[in-house]
Every structure is written in structure tokens, then in C-alpha cells.
Symmetry: D3
Subunit: 238 residues, 6 copies
């Protein structure tokens, strides 16, 4: 169990748009984390299993700045125990009025080998995070400390993030369009299908840029399209 | 421990507005469940300890209509185990596009002696619920079954409801203005203070309706106000 | 073709919540017109085939008050040609900042035998409309004339209303929870199923109000429930 | 200067919808206070000159509960100096997460002869306010004290309320649809025009309820309509 | 008829801000497509006549992935028939939760000589589209296929886009601020006026950057400003 | 009095995130201007005292394009009198549907030595403003002239901006995360504290990037951390 290395590698070569279509074909329409974007769009595709952190609204008396002195504070603990290769996904209730985390914690995640971090709220120190070599996705920058509005309450439970359901172990993929969540049980087959779809889409793109109409080509309702695609695969070794 | 009968009784005589002010004086500014209203405004004040249900976004493959055949389904289980005298508070992520529950479940809560039910989403069968003798608060009516968008996932964990933090055991009070959440540890003192405040506010209201200015009266910066209030208390036995 | 009289009659006896569940079982999750409510909740259930009016944003030079002198103005024309028994459904782009219609037009619809009127915007003269004997649903009252923001542009084309798809001829049902849209082709079977479901729900409600647990009862996983239900049907003649 | 008694009387007989159309004809499209509703829809039409109160976001250190001990606190002062016959209009930045005022202050306004009160936020003690004989309009009930989010900062300056511009002295009219703001300088002519329009609309309504088509009737493009209307005016003395 | 080549050329030299002011002077206040931005801000100004595509909310049974096999599917057909030099404007009901189109279709538009593409929803494959030499404007990236929420239903009808009215043939101009819609009938005069305004604004900018006050300069209430401007025009040949 | 040069210099070396935490420790949770971003993120940190401009909703008859011919028009006047070194902060009621200002006015502010400009609405000519050497923050670009929706009404009064309270003379600091507002009376102490915090955070970042755990380090609950930090300060001269 767990995310196979080859599945991870395959997913790194496909787009969230292609994955969305593959999931759509299986009746899954809600797996896109709405309204988050990469802080550094130049990084490679983010892939990893979801490790989650749940925030609830902060109550003032429970959230003095001193709470972080407790090494078991869920936000800090999550940063130290999120597995290497996983993606830390935070349920911030789509509220970016205070930060979900800042550059120090995300630097620590990067150093620990975590594959990425996602919040449906906002990060502080956004410019610094954008310079780190770890993919990070949020809604918009937010300077206030998380204590202002968010209390970290649960680690690695099922959550919502940007209106998408996220279960621990789901496979999370992020690129310039945002973040898709693949249910753990179908990650392998979705990866396979998406790699196939990507080959076809690359072929189609080449054809379109060469002047061909999408009629009969995309989708491949004209039998000639399939012939041409097979030839292209041979030629390109895909 | 737990909510004392006398505290419950006192809270039934005060308003959420008065409670909000008492909590504000202690630095608690986020205890109002935003944007919910009573389905039947004519019922008495709702008071009870919070028993919570957490929803996450629904994933289509996990939410066929058959899930309710499982007696352990968290929504159905919560309805059967929520203690009499408690208030069932649902975290529906402020999403009323599908229902949090309907009239049959709320009828069952009423029959079991539950003190009330709150969601930051919506209820279906709203007209029928409005005719039941159990206080219910929601954002707006919503016909679609909860499975459409909401998957019940956790019972009696800390949640957010209408942007307010709700911990199991917190004391929940609801009236025409909406719902306030009193941290469990200060419920007794808040109840006492609110009863005192209510006496003063009733006195002030009487004075104002008799034509007196609020200057010096509300707040009682004129010493005569305190004299008059004491006389009023004696006279009215409050 | 068209809505059968017996289907109409059956739909008048069921709730939008029950219809939503029946549609959900068929994979239709988007048929609830979000965020509209009845102006007069005391009227019977609204049932009729959709006849649509599409508004686009108003351009100032095209919408002087004089446009209504044109008898072919789509808003006025729609009011005069919407068939008796149909429901006039307006796509106001969920914008209630200006009215979709007012009491005079809705009075005319009522006199012409139209079964109801729905907008995902707002009506003006809301208090007067609430006194008419025609079901009307909107988001909230809105005094400004439709010309302020809405230009009627198309009659009886497929539209969106409150994020629901509405095709001319779809069967529209409205009650206290709001409005459901049943695809024309399945109206009969949905009506039949909903009548059956309603009988069962009425039985369940009776049982619950008599103190029975929902476990095994709702859904009927306990075989005794089915036995009891059959007995109840005989007894009640349903 | 000031609102003439006869203009006030005329405005009490017309609707905000009619006024909106009269203003629309003069190019004024933004005079409707968006998204407010009467707490007691059964009261007569509210009419009065605007007297304004401006709130800004509250800063915690400036808003302890003790600020109300200052008799010059703008919220309390506004309540004591708003002229009889005027309407107190509050700019709460469309934020109903905390109250703009409560029943005691609004009782005082009523006793002082103020004609009404409007906020684009919310009132606390909404159920009590709804029982007072002063028209009050808000977005929704809100229990938290105004200090939580609102600091009263300016009295009788030009403000925005529900996205409408409100200048001191503008004539404010409220009914079941909400609240319209008439620029002071055209209040008389708008009142006259609206009374005329109302007569015609009442005639039209009568005709429509008698079965007449709106074609040629509304607007009166058929010359016969004008003839009939004149006859109706004579008959009804309007 | 249609957009003149010289008008197109002129519009390529002006900004949407200048056009907005020219339209404002004619009483047109709603011609800005709200909340869209260019995917590639480095491209030249987009200019072309509007060719429209209308989406409605998707119904699940009508939108299996196989619908694209139909060459007449309106989305695919629009891409193949939108005239060279036109701008394809999509009414996606301001809903970016699913894509309006992706890189393959937009590549095809580019190859066909289409002048640009606008949606008030979102595009998928946003990073790839940003590298194409065709101006594209949207609200934000969105990975899910359009079928998830959008059904293409009408080609080249009047639509709303970002709350702006768009009629087929209107002249659409886009730059870093977003997209303006010029009614077809006044495109020539607006272009002329905007070119004149741009000359003056360029002169003003030069003056301001040289240290001159805006008083008397912008607008040119000081007669000397007009003298200086005329001299500048001669000098610069504009 | 006023902002000391050394406080200004110190504030230029710290981040809004650090300032937010320092303010949070003093109970100030609302000082972040929500949802604004820099047009040019590459500029240095913006620091200056707030000089404010308040907009109200525009009334059509008061806002013809000719109003700018009045040299006392508050928008134009504010641009000419805002002190050098100050930050012009505009209350645009969080409404970016029309512009708050454009490149000519902001060029003039730059030439006059103004330290920056902030609106909770949008600027027009955004691409040009982004090339100026003055920090500017807004919500999003917006082409329409301010007259379309905004009437400048007051100069240098207390305002709200992005839900934050802003008093004239407050110290405004802006960077990649957005804009913080420091109450004037505590600017010096906040600057001192933030410089200290920044030193520690820089040390922590270095340690984390060298592989150290945040446990005991951030916050410095491990005594060794304090020892190491002191050594680092000596070594780095901070």
C-alpha cells in the first residue's frame, strides 16, 4: 500500500486538467481544490499522498502567542511528523484573512523532504515561500498569524479543502491550474489513464498547431486520427 | 460537571445579545454563530450543551443513498446518541446548497429530549420543522439530501459553526437574534452576569419607554440611575 | 407529450425534498434552484412545466423606460404568452439588485392561469405579490425596475436559474424549501416514486413521533419496518 | 427647505418600487439601499429626511465596553440628537457580523419621534424591535455588540448604505421592498410624479385583476387606456 | 459593415481605461467585463468583434464525456466557426469552478486567426495558454472539464460576461486592466475619441513625470495647458 | 511628533507578517488590510503615515466627467496635498468594479515624494502603475473611471480599508503579503520589537535551512536556542 514510486513518477508527467477529466469519467466531479494557486508556478508538478491538518475557528482565550511553546501544538507537530514525500493539506475553511503557516514552517517541511503544502486559506511570508524549492498552494498571501483566526485541532483526519474532500492517503497533484485530489484506491489506474491521455493530447496539440481542425481529431471520431496517432507514437516513442 | 440545571434555567431568561456583551467584556468576540436563524421564532430560548457533528465535502462514490443502511452512519448515529438536554450543532461548512438534515431526524431529536439543533447550512422540510416543538436554527431551507454535498464524518469533536468555535460541552443559547456559544468553563458566571444585566436592561427599557433619555441612564453614569434601579429591583422583586 | 394531469396531481402531494432524493438516486444533483423562497409560504405546492425568460445585463442606451411601449418587449410578451398551467422561470443571473418583475405582471400571470413564477433575482411589490393566489419564488424583494440591470432577451430557451439547468418543458415544483426542476422525460416516473416515498416518510414520521428509533426504520433495514408499513398502508388506504 | 409636510404625506401613499421608476427616468439607478428588509413589515411606509451615522471598523484598544460612558460617543449622541421626523441611516459597511444598535436605542429613537432607522448591517434584539412602532430596516439580526466590529465615528456626513449614496437631508422611504433614497432637491417633484404613477398603477391593477391584458394597458399605448383611466379617476376621485 | 480595419488599428493603440471614460461620457457605465485578467499580460492589446458562446448549468445526464463526439457540440463548433479577427466571448455565468475551455481549443482558435478569447469563468491548461500568441482573459485557472458545470447551449446570441452586456458584433478590447465592450454602432467614434484622449494623456503623463502639478493640467482647465499640448502635438507629430 | 526617521528606517527592514504578530501580542487582530496586493512586488517595503481619502457610492447627477474641472475635487486635491513621505490610503468600500485612481494621479504622487498608495478597490492603468517607482496596493485592476461608482467625499478622516481601521497618522507598512496598519502611538515600540523578532526569525530560518527541527527552536523553548542565537548575533553583528 501507499503511493507507488512509478505512479508518482507518472503523475509528475501529467496535468491536473487531464486528471480532472479522468476522474470525471468515473463520476468524480468534486476533486478539484477550488481557488488555490501555486506560489511559485515554475516548480515541477507536485505529487504526494495527503497528510492533513484541520483548523477550526480560533477562540481568543485558547490562542495566546504562548501556545506554540507546547511541542504538541498540532500545527507545529504536523510540520515535524508529516512524512517525507507526502503533501501537507490544510483545511483552513477557505478563510485567508489570517495565515495558515509561514516561511519558517514551510522551510522545515522542505528540509524534511515533504513533497508540497496546500491550504485553502493563505500563507504569510509569501514572497519568501515562493523562492523555496517546495511547491506551495494557497488562495492569497495573508500576514496575520494563524492564531488570529485559526486553531489547529486535528492531524490526519478527513477534511475539506477548497470544497474538495481530502482523505489521508489520497494522492494530491498540483500544477499551474491548481490541485487535484485522487482517491487513494484508484491512483494507479488514474495515473495510467492520464499518461495515455497526455500522449494523445500532446499529439493533438502538435496537429492543431500544424493547422489541423479539431473536427474528427479531438475527440478522435475520424478513424484517420487513430492511424495518425499510432504513427506518431511510434515515431516519438511514446 | 456538565451544565447545571440552575444555569440552564437562568440562561433561558436572557438574550443572546446580552450574552454577547458579557462575553465581549472577557475578550471573546467570535462566539456568535453567524447567519443562522430560528425556523420557529415563537419557541422559547434554546439552551443546552453542544454535541457536535462534523460534515466534510461529499465524494460521489462514498455517498450512494444506501449509506444510510449502515446504522453507524455518523449522521444517523448522532441523532440517536445526542444526549437529552444537549444541542446538536452541525458544522456544514456554511454551505446550504444541500440539507444538513430533515424533519424526520429532527422529529427524532425532539422525541429524544434533545434541546435544539443548529447547522450553518440548511434544513430540508423546513416548513414541517418549523411546526415542531424543538428549536432549530439554520441559514436557509435546502431541499437536496445531505449526501449531495455533505458527508458526516465525526461525532462530538471540536468544530466551526458559522465561523464560531464550538467545543463539545460548550453551552449553546439561541433566540431570535441567532445562537451564542459560551465556553463551558465560564457558563455559570456568564449566566449570573447576564441575569443581572437583563434586570438592568429591562429597567432601562421601561425608563426609555416612559420617555427618559439614555444619557446617564445607559450606561448608568448618572448616580441617580443606580438609585432608581435599586428602587425598581425592590419594587419588581428582581 | 406535455405534463400529464395525473402527474401534476401527484406532484402536488409531494415535497421538493422527496423529489430531490428521487433525482439524486438517478445521479441528478443540480436540479435545486438555489436560494429562492416563496413569497407566500401558505399557498399549495406549485407544479407546472417550465416556460422560460432569459435576462442579460442591461445596456443603458437600450433600456429607456419607453421600451415597454413595444408590445414585443420580451418581458411583457412572455407574460402574455406563457401557457396556462406552466411556470414562468426567469434567468436573472442570480442578481437581485434590480427586480425581475412586479405585482402587475404577476397579477396578469395569475389571471391567465399560469401555475407560478420563479426568478433567481428579486420581485418588486413583494408584499402585494405575497397576497396573490399564485405561487411566486425569488431571492429577496427588490424595488428597482428591471431595466436598471436586466434586459429581457430570449423567450423559452434553455436557461440557468439559481445554478440549476432549466429546459422548456421541464417540470417545476415549488414548496417551502424552494424549487426543484424535474427533467421532462422522467417526470412521470419521478412523480410515481415520490408518491411512494412520501407514503413511507409519512409512516416513518408517525412512528418517530410515537417514540420509535430511526434505527431499522429509516431506512427500513429492519424487516419488521416493512411489515408495519404494509399494515399502515392498508389501514390508511395509501 | 427641509421636507415639506405635504411631500411627506404623499410619499406615505406610494411604494419604493414606484419611486425607483421615477428616479430611473431621471438617470438615478443607485438609490436603492440593497439587501435590507423591515423588521416589522406591518408598519406603514417610513418617510423622513436622512440623518446619518458612519461606522468604521473597530480597533480593539479603542472600543472597551466603557466607551459608552462618554455621553459624546457618536452612536449614543446620534440617538439623542437625530431630529424628530428624520430617519437615522447607518453606514455599517454592509457588515452584519456585529450589531449596529439594539432595542434600547431604537426604543429611544421611537420615543423621540424619529421616523425610522436603517442600517446596512444588523440589529440585535431583533424580535423586540419588531414589536416597536418605529420602522426599522436591516440586513439580518446580529447579537454581538457593535463594539465588536463597528466604531461610530461621524454624525450626519454623506455615507454609503447598502451601496446607495445617502446625503444628510435626502428623503428616505421604506416599505416591504426595502428603502429608497430620494435626493433632497427633487423630493417634491418625485412625490408628485409617484402619486400620479400610483393612481395609474392602481387602475391598471384593477383592470388586470378584472381580466384585461397588459397589452396597450401597461404602458398605456392604447388610446382607450387613457380614456378609461380618466373615467376611473373621476369615478374614484383620484 | 463590421469592424473597419482602421478602427481596429486605432483601438490597438489605446487603453481600456481610456475607452471606459469615453463610454462613461455617453452614459455607458456597464461595459467593463468584471474580474477577468489576461493570461499573458505581455501580449499586445486585443481587439475584435464579439462572437459569443453561451453556457448554461450542466445537467449530469446530458453531459457524458462522449458529447464531444458530436461535431455539432456548440463548444467545439464555436471554436471552428468563430471568424478570424473576432473575439470569442463566453458567458460562463461568472463560475470558474469548472473550465470554459483548455489549451487545445484555444490553440485552434489562434491557428484560425481568431483575435482573442474571453470567459468570465476559468481556463484549464492556463500555463500553456499563457505561452500562446493569442490574448486570453479569464477569472482564474480551473482544471475540471467544462462538462462538470457548464453546458454550451447557444452560439452568437447576446450574453452577459462578467456582468457586462455583450452583443454579437460589439467591439471587444482587452489589455492589462481587463476587457471593455464597445457597442458596435459607436466603435468608430469611440476609437477616434480615445486616440485623441490618449494623445492628451501621454502629454499629461510626460508633464507630470517632469514635475508639473495636475492642477490646471488634468483636466486642462488652465488655458496654458492647451497651448502646451498643441505645441507637444506638433513636436511629436501626434 | 509624527513618524520618526529611525522608526521608518527600522520598519523598512521588517515584514508585515512580523508586524502582525507584534500587534497580535497587544490584542490588535484587525490591522491587516484584507485582500490587497502590490502592483509591483519587486519594490522595497512601503512605509509611511496614513493620509486618507474616503469614497462614497457615486450618484449619477453629481458625477459628470466635468467634476474634475473643480480644483477642489477631493480626489484631485488629495493627490496634491498628501504629504511627502505619507501613504495615501483610500476607502473604496472594497469595491473594485470601478477604479480608485489611475497612472497619472499615481505618477503625480510619486513625483511629490509620497511613500505609497493603497486602495481596497482597484487601480486602472495597472500595467503602467506597476512600472512606477512608488509602491501601490490594490485588490485588482479596474478600467472604469472612479466616477462610475465612487465619489471622493472626505480627506484625512478615519476610514476603513479592507476591513482594517485606518486613522490619519497611523503607520502603514506594505510588502508582498499586503499592508499592515500600526496605530500611531505604538509605532516606535512595534518597530523596535519587530526588528528584534526579525533578527531571531532570520537566525531560525538559517538553522532550519541547515536541517534543524523547529522543536525547541521556534519558539525558543530549548535554552540552547537562546545560547545559539546570542552567538549568532555576535557573529553577524545584529
Amino acid at each position: 500500500m501507499g503511493l507507488k514510486a512509478e505512479t508518482r513518477d507518472r503523475l509528475k508527467t501529467v496535468s491536473t486538467a487531464t486528471l480532472a477529466t479522468a476522474l470525471y469519467k468515473r463520476g468524480l466531479r468534486s476533486q478539484f481544490i477550488q481557488d488555490v494557486k501555486p506560489l511559485n508556478p515554475a516548480l515541477p508538478v507536485m505529487v504526494g499522498e495527503a497528510f492533513t491538518l484541520r483548523y477550526m475557528p480560533a477562540r481568543e482565550d485558547l490562542n495566546p502567542i504562548t501556545v506554540f511553546q507546547n511541542p504538541e501544538h498540532p500545527q507545529r507537530k504536523a510540520v515535524e511528523i508529516c512524512p517525507a514525500g507526502a503533501v501537507l493539506v490544510m483545511d483552513s475553511r477557505k478563510d485567508a484573512r489570517a495565515a495558515s503557516a509561514g516561511s519558517i514552517l514551510i522551510s522545515r517541511l522542505m528540509m524534511r523532504g515533504v513533497a508540497g503544502v496546500v491550504t485553502d486559506g493563505g500563507f504569510r511570508d509569501a514572497a519568501e515561500i515562493a523562492r523555496l524549492a517546495i511547491p506551495a498552494f494557497h488562495s492569497r498571501p495573508s500576514a496575520p498569524t494563524n492564531l488570529t483566526l485559526h486553531q489547529a485541532i486535528d492531524i490526519n483526519v478527513p477534511i475539506g479543502c477548497g470544497d474538495a474532500p481530502v482523505f489521508p492517503g489520497d494522492v494530491v497533484v498540483g500544477d499551474g491550474d491548481g490541485v487535484m485530489v485522487i482517491p487513494a484506491g484508484i491512483a494507479d489506474e488514474i495515473a495510467d489513464e492520464a499518461v495515455e491521455m497526455t500522449a494523445f493530447e500532446d499529439f493533438v496539440t502538435e496537429q492543431v498547431l500544424a493547422g489541423r481542425s479539431i473536427r474528427g481529431l479531438y475527440p478522435a471520431t475520424d478513424p484517420q486520427t487513430k492511424v495518425d496517432f499510432e504513427a506518431w507514437r511510434k515515431q516519438t516513442g511514446r
